[in-house]
Subunit: 454 residues, 2 copies
Amino acid sequence: MAQKPSVPKGTRDFGPFEMSRRNYIFNTIRGVFEKYGYQPIETPVMENLTTLLGKYGEEGDRLLFKVLNSGDYLAKANSEWLEKRDSLRLSTSICEKGLRYDLTVPFARFVVQHRNDITFPFKRYQMQPVWRADRPQKGRYREFFQCDVDVIGSVSLLNEVDLIRMIDEIFQHLKINVVIKLNNRKLLSGIAQSIDAPEKLTDITTAMDKLDKIGVEKVYEELRSKGLSQDAIDHLEPILNLSGNNTSKLNCLKELVGDTADGSHGLFELGTILQYLKSFNLKAKVEIDQSLARGLNYYTGAIIEVKAEDVKIGSICGGGRYDNLTGIFGLPDVSGVGVSFGADRIYDVLTELELFPEDAASLTKVLLVNFGEKEELFSLGILEKLQQAEIASEFYPEPAKMKKQMKYADQKQIPYVLLIGEEEMNSGKLTLKNMVTGEQKKWKIEEIIKIIGA
Amino acid sequence: MAQKPSVPKGTRDFGPFEMSRRNYIFNTIRGVFEKYGYQPIETPVMENLTTLLGKYGEEGDRLLFKVLNSGDYLAKANSEWLEKRDSLRLSTSICEKGLRYDLTVPFARFVVQHRNDITFPFKRYQMQPVWRADRPQKGRYREFFQCDVDVIGSVSLLNEVDLIRMIDEIFQHLKINVVIKLNNRKLLSGIAQSIDAPEKLTDITTAMDKLDKIGVEKVYEELRSKGLSQDAIDHLEPILNLSGNNTSKLNCLKELVGDTADGSHGLFELGTILQYLKSFNLKAKVEIDQSLARGLNYYTGAIIEVKAEDVKIGSICGGGRYDNLTGIFGLPDVSGVGVSFGADRIYDVLTELELFPEDAASLTKVLLVNFGEKEELFSLGILEKLQQAEIASEFYPEPAKMKKQMKYADQKQIPYVLLIGEEEMNSGKLTLKNMVTGEQKKWKIEEIIKIIGA
């Protein structure tokens, strides 16, 4: 009995229909990236484990897919770990490679490895799958796609402006209403400094990050449990309850943390970016969100996150500035800033809001019906003419029943069918059927090329 | 000390320059595939090992990259193999997944798994990387790209004709002169039958396959060593020394093997395909090659191989008809035919013959020089206008020295540079420099959009 075929848990096949939708997203994003001067790169699916391990925390290390060494891998395996059945430790002695976990670390590795061939500031984008051995669930896959765009080697805040403008234009094209949330890592440091508790930075931001989910009272509770004094919490209260437009938020924050070095620096950066953005006609709302703290250990300046307004779903794009990403690979002090678009979540948003364009998955414009041997060569000649005119066309490969051939055209959503029987061959006027309207009329091939090619 | 970053042996990074060349190849191939009515699919990078193992022979099984199970994989490992340090056997008990080895087996799996959603005949293409733990050498990688195009669910020879026409058109676009070699698996069976040695089919084809490399005398020697009688070898002699045009080859083969059932069937198929092709104006040479035997255990009808005429390199495209590919997954009697384009070898051919178009890797059309704070907002307004006109453009993010900014434009091969200083802001006439001719002239932004956008 043959096995029932399936794909590994958390992975997916993409048929023609899903491909056309995915390509719609990728092409939209790519088009904007390239219009702003970003160039594509691609890195290998496998990276050396030395490149990946230790970059994503302990949890990340666990979630890496590791690739077994070829050949007699046990000969070189660590005997102690093998005898102790220590799966975790043994893995690094029988595996040298792993599947990439994100596009950021491979990008940092790329920049350092090729630094002598790169023109800085280096504006690159990368659209490739990544893998995580997470428990699969609705909307979370073990193989999923990221679209990253970064500029590295420039500290100018104009780069942040560039990225935010691209985010706005991409979601405008995709017709998704979004809010772009902005924060700054230095502002977060300033907040911790303003209550004389710089060592509590992580506790404070972790608690603040939950504001949306658990509400302000629970955040206070958590802060108390982390050892913050009532004085400190009183000081944080207006920050947690920050409201109004960006200007009033900036003013309020200036009062509360503007006298700390980091706070003042962070507020300057936030203000400058917002000031630049005023001269552009953005469709997206851009708002300061002082509770935003994604990737805290990683970002050093701007923090950016994008939410869809009309769908309840996590962020669909996010990123920020990092001042020392390439340091881990021996190239310190290179500042970069970038964002990552979550292609799978964007796919889900477009599906839920029914925003995918109605184009058929098939690009074929016309199907030539196969009537049999007598009409075959004549039909092949017509096929050649259509294709030479760059019209995507197919000749049904077998003289099957008309019903079957029409069903084929229908299922592939081919808009025209061409019927070439004896009469058509004699008159040179071919019957063209419009599959949408059902209309049927005779034309010369030159006319048909004009009609379909238009 | 930070580690020196590198990629795993046999894998490669693709920077903007390589990407633009790779995209040139992929886009050319894709454009033709779609014009002929083929639709894209993609399958996951990882497949279940049960899907992959046993499909590529013992050697293939060894060359599969296996992915270590997550979690405590040793807990479920086979103790006997573990204690015996049996690397090969143990691997199937600690790995459930592997990286795909080609696109054919995943395609067969896809067809069977989704058979109820597929419109047959199913014309699909797939362009994705594959992995083999081969010893890396010049031109052979462990991660490389295949572009497969197949039609499944139709026995019509018109499909073979379709594929050969696509091969011709693709290499015409790429400006590579090619010979398309044609053979037929049934003809090979007929040859073995004609000397009453059907059981020697593999020996005969293996020896014949070496004709180009070792010469006819060595082939005779090999056949003798495999136990073929002098009579048999005398009968094979005219087949081995077959020459002349396709018609004379067909006639000669008809005489020698036309009275065997398989031989006659194979010759009919070969002849029919060649007859069809006469009605098209192909640029490539199509010639019968009776020694062609690639993938013998796999193909059942046509065998196709494409060689570049002006470069010494292995085949750059190949394939054939298979009558039972999906049988291994429980769906017997579905015939298909397809070919695979070797993107990496095509890349090497285009490089060697200097056939890549001279387009710059960067798509940016114009760089706006950054003069500093005073001109900044004005320049950003111009940037916005250019981008709204769909002209790819960049504003250098920092007021760096002119020389540095010009070098950036130069290295990215940006064809125009826009200089906006005080005078330009006052007059509204901006200085446009053509980076190719060095010419420099003042224009209004509306004029510039016309010049660059053209």
